[in-house]
């Protein structure tokens, strides 16, 4: 009897050890492989083929973002953006390319699901990941995923990017280190777009309002919360403050 119990406990230990090993290491290897492929795809994505200059028609049909910007947070036009990005270890935000007039946007076609969208950098959270188009289980095995149907980074609306917190390389493992005022960049084929974090919150997984399209240009990052649990979602919302489309989309940015 004792011998059987011993074997049973040993088998249980092996199964549990296998689970931990699979979730932490095997899934990370899968993500690393996916990232290498996505990086190559992103380099091959041609700006000429997927972007165009269009007239910005305004925020028709979109509601104002239901967010309270913390008092004391400097507005987009009040920041020395180049210096702030440099001191944060981020690349400079792109300027509008030649030929883009006042009120024009550099628009971008979303890539097919499973292909690379851009690269997201958040130094305070150790985030440096290539973003894949799509948020299916298969997409998120390769890295952080851009939610289809939401704006692309740097475009009008709300660009939603989700990522694992514990498994598959854990792109957003330290997202809780982000606080209002921190800077984020997302580089797509249209250029480098700079965002300033305005809100960090914990919501239920069913609170779809955080993915709605709002006036202006926003970036919403979502991940599981707390770590090692899928019970809630940690949500970071940032507003566009620099990049090729900032002069058209953000008040106070020339």
């Amino acid at each position: 009897m004792a011998r059987r119990l011993g074997w049973g406990l040993l088998a249980l230990g092996v199964l549990l050890g296998g689970f931990v090993g699979y979730e932490l290491w095997v899934t990370s290897l899968v993500a690393r492989h996916g990232q290498a492929a996505l990086r190559s795809e992103l380099e091959e994505r041609s700006a000429a083929a997927v972007s165009a200059v269009v007239r910005y028609e305004g925020d028709t049909g979109r509601a104002a973002a239901p967010l309270a910007v913390p008092a004391g947070l400097p507005g987009p036009g009040e920041i020395d953006l180049s210096a702030a990005l440099e001191s944060a270890g981020l690349p400079p935000a792109s300027s509008p390319p030649p030929g883009v007039g006042e009120g024009d946007l550099v628009s971008e076609e979303p890539p097919p699901e499973g292909e690379a969208v851009g690269r997201i950098l958040i130094p305070v959270a150790g985030v440096d990941w290539t973003v894949v188009e799509g948020v299916s289980a298969a997409d998120l095995r390769r890295g952080a995923g851009h939610m289809p149907g939401t704006a692309l980074p740097g475009q009008p609306g709300n660009a939603v990017i989700s990522g694992h917190r514990t498994t598959y390389g854990a792109p957003f493992h330290n997202l809780d280190r982000v606080s209002p005022g921190d800077l984020v960049t997302v580089t797509t084929v249209t250029g480098t777009h700079a965002y300033q974090v305005v809100q960090v919150m914990v919501v239920r997984p069913t609170e779809v309002w955080v993915t709605e399209q709002w006036q202006g240009s926003w970036l919403t990052l979502t991940t599981c919360h707390p770590r090692f649990s899928a019970r809630q979602r940690l949500v970071v919302v940032a507003r566009l403050i620099g990049g090729p489309n900032a002069p058209a989309l953000v008040e106070g940015v020339a």
Binding site: E23, L140, A230, R233
Partner: protein, 49 residues
């Protein structure tokens, strides 16, 4: 374990092939189980909705 192997039909090559198939299926099922458990309780990918 050896008793189970001895009860398998056919020659050694067939028995070994059956064992390999059974082990592969068991490992695949185990990984599927790990994947489901991980997604359901540990980390669903952080999606909303």
């Amino acid at each position: 374990m050896t008793g189970w192997y001895r009860r398998l039909p056919g020659r050694t090559a067939l028995r070994v092939a059956i064992v390999v198939l059974v082990v592969a299926a068991a490992v695949a099922l185990l990984l599927l189980g790990y994947e489901w458990l991980g997604r359901a309780f540990l980390d669903s990918g952080g999606t909303i909705g």
